[in-house]
Protein backbone atom coordinates (compact mmCIF):
# COMPACT_ATOMS: atom_id res chain seq x y z
CA UNK A 1 0.00 0.00 0.00
CA UNK A 2 1.11 3.55 -0.74
CA UNK A 3 -0.10 6.76 0.83
CA UNK A 4 -1.24 9.44 -1.58
CA UNK A 5 -2.48 12.97 -1.08
CA UNK A 6 -4.28 14.70 -3.88
CA UNK A 7 -6.97 17.27 -4.51
CA UNK A 8 -10.32 15.96 -5.67
CA UNK A 9 -12.90 18.56 -6.67
CA UNK A 10 -11.10 21.16 -4.62
CA UNK A 11 -10.86 19.08 -1.45
CA UNK A 12 -7.61 17.59 -0.16
CA UNK A 13 -7.81 13.79 0.13
CA UNK A 14 -5.29 11.39 1.69
CA UNK A 15 -5.61 7.63 1.34
CA UNK A 16 -3.75 4.34 1.34
CA UNK A 17 -3.98 2.67 -2.07
CA UNK A 18 -2.78 -0.46 -3.77
CA UNK A 19 -0.54 0.66 -6.66
CA UNK A 20 -2.67 -1.35 -9.09
CA UNK A 21 -5.84 0.62 -8.25
CA UNK A 22 -6.58 2.95 -11.13
CA UNK A 23 -7.88 6.45 -10.57
CA UNK A 24 -11.47 5.68 -11.62
CA UNK A 25 -11.77 2.79 -9.14
CA UNK A 26 -10.22 4.99 -6.47
CA UNK A 27 -12.79 7.74 -7.08
CA UNK A 28 -15.73 5.33 -7.29
CA UNK A 29 -14.85 2.86 -4.52
CA UNK A 30 -12.96 5.03 -2.01
CA UNK A 31 -14.65 8.40 -2.48
CA UNK A 32 -18.08 7.24 -3.74
CA UNK A 33 -17.79 9.61 -6.70
CA UNK A 34 -19.68 7.35 -9.07
CA UNK A 35 -20.19 9.99 -11.76
CA UNK A 36 -17.04 8.72 -13.45
CA UNK A 37 -18.06 5.70 -15.51
CA UNK A 38 -15.94 2.79 -16.67
CA UNK A 39 -16.42 1.30 -20.11
CA UNK A 40 -13.53 -0.46 -21.80
CA UNK A 41 -10.91 -0.01 -19.06
CA UNK A 42 -8.12 0.22 -21.58
CA UNK A 43 -8.24 3.82 -22.71
CA UNK A 44 -10.30 3.46 -25.87
CA UNK A 45 -13.94 4.35 -25.08
CA UNK A 46 -13.50 7.63 -23.19
CA UNK A 47 -16.30 7.01 -20.65
CA UNK A 48 -13.91 7.58 -17.71
CA UNK A 49 -12.50 10.88 -19.03
CA UNK A 50 -12.07 13.52 -16.31
CA UNK A 51 -9.69 16.41 -15.66
CA UNK A 52 -6.24 16.03 -14.10
CA UNK A 53 -4.15 19.17 -13.52
CA UNK A 54 -6.29 21.25 -15.85
CA UNK A 55 -6.55 18.90 -18.82
CA UNK A 56 -8.72 15.92 -19.75
CA UNK A 57 -7.30 12.44 -19.12
CA UNK A 58 -8.37 8.80 -18.98
CA UNK A 59 -8.87 7.73 -15.36
CA UNK A 60 -8.91 3.99 -16.20
CA UNK A 61 -5.29 3.91 -17.39
CA UNK A 62 -3.99 6.40 -14.83
CA UNK A 63 -3.13 4.75 -11.54
CA UNK A 64 -4.23 6.54 -8.36
CA UNK A 65 -0.73 6.13 -6.92
CA UNK A 66 0.63 8.14 -9.86
CA UNK A 67 -1.75 10.99 -8.98
CA UNK A 68 -0.04 11.90 -5.70
CA UNK A 69 -0.09 15.69 -5.61
CA UNK A 70 -2.44 15.99 -8.59
CA UNK A 71 -5.53 18.16 -8.93
CA UNK A 72 -8.38 15.92 -10.07
CA UNK A 73 -11.76 17.21 -11.16
CA UNK A 74 -14.61 14.78 -11.81
CA UNK A 75 -18.04 15.46 -13.28
CA UNK A 76 -19.28 16.11 -9.73
CA UNK A 77 -16.71 18.92 -9.42
CA UNK A 78 -18.11 20.90 -12.33
CA UNK A 79 -21.44 21.71 -10.73
CA UNK A 80 -20.72 25.43 -10.51
CA UNK A 81 -18.71 25.68 -13.72
CA UNK A 82 -20.20 28.10 -16.27
CA UNK A 83 -18.95 26.22 -19.34
CA UNK A 84 -20.27 22.93 -18.00
CA UNK A 85 -23.62 24.56 -17.21
CA UNK A 86 -23.88 25.74 -20.82
CA UNK A 87 -22.93 22.27 -22.06
CA UNK A 88 -25.51 20.60 -19.81
CA UNK A 89 -28.24 22.87 -21.18
CA UNK A 90 -27.09 22.26 -24.76
CA UNK A 91 -26.94 18.48 -24.23
CA UNK A 92 -30.54 18.61 -23.00
CA UNK A 93 -31.74 20.87 -25.82
CA UNK A 94 -30.03 18.86 -28.55
CA UNK A 95 -30.91 15.40 -27.21
CA UNK A 96 -27.21 14.65 -26.82
CA UNK A 97 -27.73 11.75 -24.47
CA UNK A 98 -29.98 8.75 -24.19
CA UNK A 99 -28.71 6.18 -21.69
CA UNK A 100 -26.19 8.71 -20.32
CA UNK A 101 -23.34 6.28 -19.78
CA UNK A 102 -20.85 8.12 -21.98
CA UNK A 103 -22.08 11.56 -20.89
CA UNK A 104 -19.65 12.40 -18.05
CA UNK A 105 -16.72 11.61 -20.36
CA UNK A 106 -18.36 13.42 -23.28
CA UNK A 107 -18.84 16.52 -21.14
CA UNK A 108 -15.23 16.39 -19.92
CA UNK A 109 -14.01 16.29 -23.52
CA UNK A 110 -16.57 18.84 -24.72
CA UNK A 111 -15.41 21.32 -22.08
CA UNK A 112 -11.86 20.98 -23.36
CA UNK A 113 -12.99 21.59 -26.96
CA UNK A 114 -14.94 24.70 -25.99
CA UNK A 115 -12.09 26.20 -23.97
CA UNK A 116 -9.12 25.17 -26.12
CA UNK A 117 -10.60 25.43 -29.61
CA UNK A 118 -13.08 28.34 -29.59
CA UNK A 119 -13.03 28.54 -33.40
CA UNK A 120 -13.52 24.81 -34.05
CA UNK A 121 -15.78 23.90 -36.97
CA UNK A 122 -17.94 20.78 -37.09
CA UNK A 123 -15.23 18.64 -38.68
CA UNK A 124 -12.79 19.55 -35.91
CA UNK A 125 -15.40 18.90 -33.20
CA UNK A 126 -16.02 15.44 -34.65
CA UNK A 127 -12.28 14.75 -34.79
CA UNK A 128 -11.83 15.86 -31.17
CA UNK A 129 -14.77 13.71 -30.03
CA UNK A 130 -13.35 10.62 -31.74
CA UNK A 131 -11.94 9.38 -28.45
CA UNK A 132 -15.35 9.22 -26.77
CA UNK A 133 -17.66 6.46 -27.88
CA UNK A 134 -21.45 6.72 -27.65
CA UNK A 135 -23.54 3.72 -28.61
CA UNK A 136 -27.03 5.21 -28.60
CA UNK A 137 -27.55 8.80 -29.72
CA UNK A 138 -25.27 8.47 -32.73
CA UNK A 139 -23.21 11.65 -32.19
CA UNK A 140 -25.43 14.02 -34.20
CA UNK A 141 -26.96 15.55 -31.08
CA UNK A 142 -23.65 15.58 -29.22
CA UNK A 143 -21.86 17.42 -32.04
CA UNK A 144 -24.77 19.86 -32.31
CA UNK A 145 -24.65 20.53 -28.56
CA UNK A 146 -20.93 21.32 -28.64
CA UNK A 147 -21.40 23.50 -31.73
CA UNK A 148 -24.23 25.35 -29.96
CA UNK A 149 -22.06 26.23 -26.96
CA UNK A 150 -19.19 27.30 -29.24
CA UNK A 151 -21.59 29.57 -31.18
CA UNK A 152 -23.08 31.00 -27.96
CA UNK A 153 -19.65 31.86 -26.65
CA UNK A 154 -18.58 33.43 -29.95
CA UNK A 155 -21.79 35.49 -29.89
CA UNK A 156 -21.18 36.59 -26.32
CA UNK A 157 -17.60 37.54 -27.13
CA UNK A 158 -18.50 39.84 -30.06
CA UNK A 159 -19.97 43.31 -29.32
Amino acid sequence: MKTITLKVNGQSVSAQVEPRTHLADFLRDYLMLTGTNLGCEHGVCGACTLWIDGAPARSCITFAVACDGADVRTIEGFEDDAVMAALRDAFTAEHALQCGYCTPGMLATARDIVLRLPDADEARVREELAGNLCRCTGYVGIVRAVMRVLAERRGAASP
Binding site: H42, P56, R58, C60, I61, T62, F63, T109, A130
Partner: protein, 262 residues
Protein backbone atom coordinates in the same frame (compact mmCIF):
# COMPACT_ATOMS: atom_id res chain seq x y z
CA UNK B 1 -9.79 -5.77 -16.54
CA UNK B 2 -7.80 -4.88 -13.46
CA UNK B 3 -4.02 -4.92 -13.40
CA UNK B 4 -2.24 -7.68 -11.53
CA UNK B 5 -0.52 -6.61 -8.31
CA UNK B 6 2.68 -4.58 -8.67
CA UNK B 7 4.90 -2.37 -6.56
CA UNK B 8 5.39 1.28 -7.44
CA UNK B 9 8.29 3.64 -6.90
CA UNK B 10 8.72 7.23 -8.03
CA UNK B 11 12.38 8.14 -7.59
CA UNK B 12 13.44 11.80 -7.62
CA UNK B 13 16.79 11.31 -9.29
CA UNK B 14 18.12 9.28 -12.18
CA UNK B 15 20.73 7.36 -10.18
CA UNK B 16 18.05 6.01 -7.85
CA UNK B 17 15.86 5.01 -10.81
CA UNK B 18 18.72 3.15 -12.49
CA UNK B 19 19.48 1.36 -9.22
CA UNK B 20 15.85 0.25 -8.84
CA UNK B 21 15.80 -1.06 -12.41
CA UNK B 22 19.10 -2.87 -12.08
CA UNK B 23 18.07 -4.54 -8.82
CA UNK B 24 14.68 -5.65 -10.15
CA UNK B 25 16.02 -6.77 -13.53
CA UNK B 26 13.47 -8.07 -16.01
CA UNK B 27 10.67 -7.86 -13.40
CA UNK B 28 10.60 -4.05 -13.56
CA UNK B 29 9.00 -1.75 -16.13
CA UNK B 30 9.49 1.97 -16.57
CA UNK B 31 6.28 4.00 -16.33
CA UNK B 32 6.02 7.42 -17.96
CA UNK B 33 2.60 8.64 -19.16
CA UNK B 34 1.22 5.11 -19.00
CA UNK B 35 -0.99 5.49 -22.05
CA UNK B 36 0.31 2.27 -23.64
CA UNK B 37 1.55 0.45 -20.55
CA UNK B 38 -1.68 1.22 -18.64
CA UNK B 39 -3.88 -0.72 -21.07
CA UNK B 40 -1.35 -3.58 -21.18
CA UNK B 41 -1.37 -3.79 -17.39
CA UNK B 42 -5.18 -3.71 -17.23
CA UNK B 43 -5.39 -6.42 -19.88
CA UNK B 44 -2.67 -8.33 -17.98
CA UNK B 45 -0.57 -8.55 -21.11
CA UNK B 46 2.15 -7.06 -18.91
CA UNK B 47 2.59 -8.23 -15.31
CA UNK B 48 5.72 -6.57 -13.95
CA UNK B 49 6.55 -6.87 -10.25
CA UNK B 50 7.65 -3.24 -10.09
CA UNK B 51 6.80 -0.02 -11.90
CA UNK B 52 9.40 2.74 -11.78
CA UNK B 53 7.64 6.05 -12.47
CA UNK B 54 10.17 8.32 -14.20
CA UNK B 55 8.05 11.46 -14.32
CA UNK B 56 9.84 12.84 -11.25
CA UNK B 57 13.29 12.73 -12.87
CA UNK B 58 14.43 16.27 -13.79
CA UNK B 59 16.56 15.16 -16.79
CA UNK B 60 13.55 13.56 -18.47
CA UNK B 61 11.52 16.75 -18.23
CA UNK B 62 14.16 18.98 -19.80
CA UNK B 63 13.96 20.59 -23.21
CA UNK B 64 17.09 22.39 -24.35
CA UNK B 65 18.57 23.98 -27.39
CA UNK B 66 21.79 22.38 -28.58
CA UNK B 67 23.98 23.50 -31.48
CA UNK B 68 22.44 21.51 -34.30
CA UNK B 69 19.48 19.95 -32.51
CA UNK B 70 16.88 20.33 -29.81
CA UNK B 71 16.96 17.86 -26.94
CA UNK B 72 13.43 16.87 -25.96
CA UNK B 73 13.18 15.12 -22.61
CA UNK B 74 11.51 11.71 -22.60
CA UNK B 75 8.59 12.84 -20.41
CA UNK B 76 7.52 15.63 -22.77
CA UNK B 77 3.87 14.99 -23.60
CA UNK B 78 2.42 14.80 -27.10
CA UNK B 79 0.08 17.67 -26.15
CA UNK B 80 3.01 19.91 -25.17
CA UNK B 81 4.46 19.41 -28.65
CA UNK B 82 1.04 19.80 -30.33
CA UNK B 83 0.49 23.12 -28.56
CA UNK B 84 3.97 24.46 -29.32
CA UNK B 85 4.81 24.60 -25.61
CA UNK B 86 8.21 23.14 -26.50
CA UNK B 87 10.29 24.36 -29.44
CA UNK B 88 9.79 22.48 -32.71
CA UNK B 89 13.06 22.50 -34.68
CA UNK B 90 11.43 20.77 -37.68
CA UNK B 91 9.42 23.56 -39.33
CA UNK B 92 6.15 22.18 -37.96
CA UNK B 93 6.65 18.45 -38.59
CA UNK B 94 6.66 17.49 -34.89
CA UNK B 95 3.51 19.50 -34.19
CA UNK B 96 1.67 17.89 -37.09
CA UNK B 97 2.65 14.39 -35.96
CA UNK B 98 1.75 15.11 -32.32
CA UNK B 99 -1.74 16.33 -33.15
CA UNK B 100 -2.54 13.07 -34.92
CA UNK B 101 -1.65 10.78 -32.00
CA UNK B 102 -4.62 9.00 -30.42
CA UNK B 103 -6.94 11.46 -28.64
CA UNK B 104 -6.36 14.67 -26.70
CA UNK B 105 -6.99 12.96 -23.33
CA UNK B 106 -4.23 10.48 -24.24
CA UNK B 107 -1.92 13.18 -25.63
CA UNK B 108 -2.16 15.10 -22.36
CA UNK B 109 -0.38 12.27 -20.51
CA UNK B 110 1.36 10.17 -23.17
CA UNK B 111 5.04 10.98 -23.68
CA UNK B 112 7.53 10.97 -26.54
CA UNK B 113 10.00 8.79 -24.63
CA UNK B 114 7.36 6.36 -23.46
CA UNK B 115 6.05 5.92 -26.98
CA UNK B 116 9.55 5.24 -28.36
CA UNK B 117 10.50 2.85 -25.55
CA UNK B 118 7.20 0.98 -25.87
CA UNK B 119 8.06 0.55 -29.57
CA UNK B 120 4.74 -0.32 -31.09
CA UNK B 121 5.74 -0.21 -34.78
CA UNK B 122 2.51 1.70 -35.54
CA UNK B 123 3.34 4.47 -33.05
CA UNK B 124 3.82 7.82 -34.76
CA UNK B 125 7.09 8.83 -33.06
CA UNK B 126 8.77 5.59 -34.15
CA UNK B 127 8.38 6.59 -37.80
CA UNK B 128 8.72 10.34 -37.29
CA UNK B 129 12.01 10.13 -35.37
CA UNK B 130 13.41 7.63 -37.90
CA UNK B 131 12.74 9.89 -40.89
CA UNK B 132 14.19 12.86 -38.94
CA UNK B 133 17.34 10.84 -38.20
CA UNK B 134 16.87 11.81 -34.54
CA UNK B 135 19.15 10.39 -31.83
CA UNK B 136 17.76 8.52 -28.87
CA UNK B 137 19.63 9.35 -25.67
CA UNK B 138 19.91 6.47 -23.22
CA UNK B 139 21.32 6.35 -19.69
CA UNK B 140 22.34 3.15 -17.98
CA UNK B 141 24.68 1.77 -15.34
CA UNK B 142 27.58 2.29 -17.82
CA UNK B 143 26.73 5.93 -18.51
CA UNK B 144 25.15 7.69 -21.47
CA UNK B 145 24.97 6.59 -25.10
CA UNK B 146 23.00 7.61 -28.18
CA UNK B 147 21.31 5.44 -30.76
CA UNK B 148 20.07 6.52 -34.19
CA UNK B 149 16.26 6.43 -34.13
CA UNK B 150 16.18 4.13 -37.16
CA UNK B 151 18.30 1.59 -35.26
CA UNK B 152 16.46 1.95 -31.96
CA UNK B 153 13.38 -0.12 -32.72
CA UNK B 154 14.42 -3.70 -33.44
CA UNK B 155 10.99 -5.24 -33.86
CA UNK B 156 7.53 -5.29 -32.33
CA UNK B 157 7.93 -3.84 -28.81
CA UNK B 158 11.61 -4.59 -28.95
CA UNK B 159 14.28 -1.87 -28.72
CA UNK B 160 18.00 -1.33 -28.38
CA UNK B 161 17.47 -0.51 -24.68
CA UNK B 162 19.58 -2.82 -22.55
CA UNK B 163 18.62 -4.12 -19.13
CA UNK B 164 18.62 -1.35 -16.55
CA UNK B 165 18.72 1.42 -19.16
CA UNK B 166 16.35 4.41 -19.32
CA UNK B 167 15.47 6.45 -22.38
CA UNK B 168 16.32 9.99 -21.27
CA UNK B 169 15.26 11.94 -24.33
CA UNK B 170 15.60 12.44 -28.04
CA UNK B 171 17.83 14.81 -29.99
CA UNK B 172 15.85 16.20 -32.93
CA UNK B 173 17.92 17.85 -35.68
CA UNK B 174 17.12 21.43 -36.63
CA UNK B 175 15.78 21.61 -40.15
CA UNK B 176 16.52 24.59 -42.38
CA UNK B 177 13.84 27.02 -43.52
CA UNK B 178 14.12 25.38 -46.96
CA UNK B 179 13.04 22.04 -45.53
CA UNK B 180 9.79 20.39 -46.62
CA UNK B 181 8.05 17.44 -45.04
CA UNK B 182 4.96 15.28 -45.28
CA UNK B 183 3.30 12.74 -43.04
CA UNK B 184 0.44 10.55 -44.16
CA UNK B 185 -1.06 7.69 -42.23
CA UNK B 186 -3.99 5.39 -42.70
CA UNK B 187 -6.17 4.56 -39.68
CA UNK B 188 -9.49 2.73 -39.72
CA UNK B 189 -10.81 5.30 -37.26
CA UNK B 190 -9.49 8.68 -36.10
CA UNK B 191 -7.06 8.16 -33.25
CA UNK B 192 -6.48 4.47 -33.72
CA UNK B 193 -3.05 3.03 -34.37
CA UNK B 194 -2.05 3.43 -38.02
CA UNK B 195 -2.17 0.53 -40.45
CA UNK B 196 0.39 2.26 -42.65
CA UNK B 197 2.53 5.39 -42.42
CA UNK B 198 4.41 7.26 -45.13
CA UNK B 199 6.67 10.21 -44.26
CA UNK B 200 9.25 12.36 -46.03
CA UNK B 201 11.69 15.02 -44.90
CA UNK B 202 13.53 16.94 -47.60
CA UNK B 203 16.17 19.42 -46.52
CA UNK B 204 18.48 20.61 -49.32
CA UNK B 205 20.74 22.35 -46.76
CA UNK B 206 21.44 18.97 -45.20
CA UNK B 207 21.41 17.07 -48.48
CA UNK B 208 18.40 15.10 -47.20
CA UNK B 209 15.82 13.35 -49.31
CA UNK B 210 14.72 10.99 -46.58
CA UNK B 211 11.60 8.90 -46.43
CA UNK B 212 10.15 6.24 -44.18
CA UNK B 213 7.59 3.47 -44.46
CA UNK B 214 6.15 2.89 -41.02
CA UNK B 215 3.57 0.85 -39.14
CA UNK B 216 5.18 -2.31 -40.45
CA UNK B 217 5.55 -5.51 -38.47
CA UNK B 218 8.94 -4.43 -37.22
CA UNK B 219 11.35 -1.53 -37.54
CA UNK B 220 10.41 1.32 -39.89
CA UNK B 221 11.89 1.04 -43.38
CA UNK B 222 14.10 4.07 -44.08
CA UNK B 223 14.43 5.41 -47.62
CA UNK B 224 17.79 7.19 -47.76
CA UNK B 225 17.24 8.86 -51.14
CA UNK B 226 13.61 9.45 -52.00
CA UNK B 227 14.37 11.33 -55.23
CA UNK B 228 13.86 8.09 -57.13
CA UNK B 229 10.96 6.51 -55.35
CA UNK B 230 9.17 3.30 -56.26
CA UNK B 231 6.53 2.86 -53.52
CA UNK B 232 5.61 -0.67 -54.61
CA UNK B 233 9.25 -1.75 -54.46
CA UNK B 234 9.73 -0.24 -51.00
CA UNK B 235 6.55 -1.92 -49.75
CA UNK B 236 7.82 -5.18 -51.23
CA UNK B 237 10.77 -5.04 -48.79
CA UNK B 238 8.29 -5.83 -46.01
CA UNK B 239 5.23 -7.34 -47.68
CA UNK B 240 4.39 -9.68 -50.49
CA UNK B 241 2.98 -7.82 -53.52
CA UNK B 242 -0.72 -8.42 -53.98
CA UNK B 243 -1.52 -8.47 -50.26
CA UNK B 244 -3.57 -5.82 -48.45
CA UNK B 245 -0.55 -4.85 -46.34
CA UNK B 246 1.62 -4.29 -49.41
CA UNK B 247 -1.07 -2.20 -51.07
CA UNK B 248 -1.83 0.00 -48.07
CA UNK B 249 1.85 0.71 -47.39
CA UNK B 250 2.55 1.53 -51.05
CA UNK B 251 -0.45 3.89 -51.07
CA UNK B 252 0.71 5.58 -47.84
CA UNK B 253 4.09 6.31 -49.46
CA UNK B 254 2.44 7.54 -52.65
CA UNK B 255 0.09 9.88 -50.79
CA UNK B 256 2.84 11.18 -48.51
CA UNK B 257 4.97 11.89 -51.60
CA UNK B 258 2.03 13.63 -53.29
CA UNK B 259 1.46 15.78 -50.20
CA UNK B 260 5.09 16.88 -50.43
CA UNK B 261 4.55 18.36 -53.87
CA UNK B 262 1.68 20.58 -52.83
Amino acid sequence: MKAARFDYEKPRELGAALKLLTEAGADAKVLAGGQSLGPMLNLRLAQPALLVDVRGLPELGEVRDEADAVFIGACTTHAAIEDGRVPDPTQGFLRKVARGIAYRAVRNRGTVGGSLAHADPAADWVSAMAVLDARIVVRGPQGERTVAAADFVLGIMSTALGEGEILVGVRVPKLSTRARWSYWKYCRKTGEFAEAIGAFVIDPDRGWWRGVMGATEGAPVVIEDARVLDPAAVAAEAYEPGTYEHQVHAVALKRAAAALDR
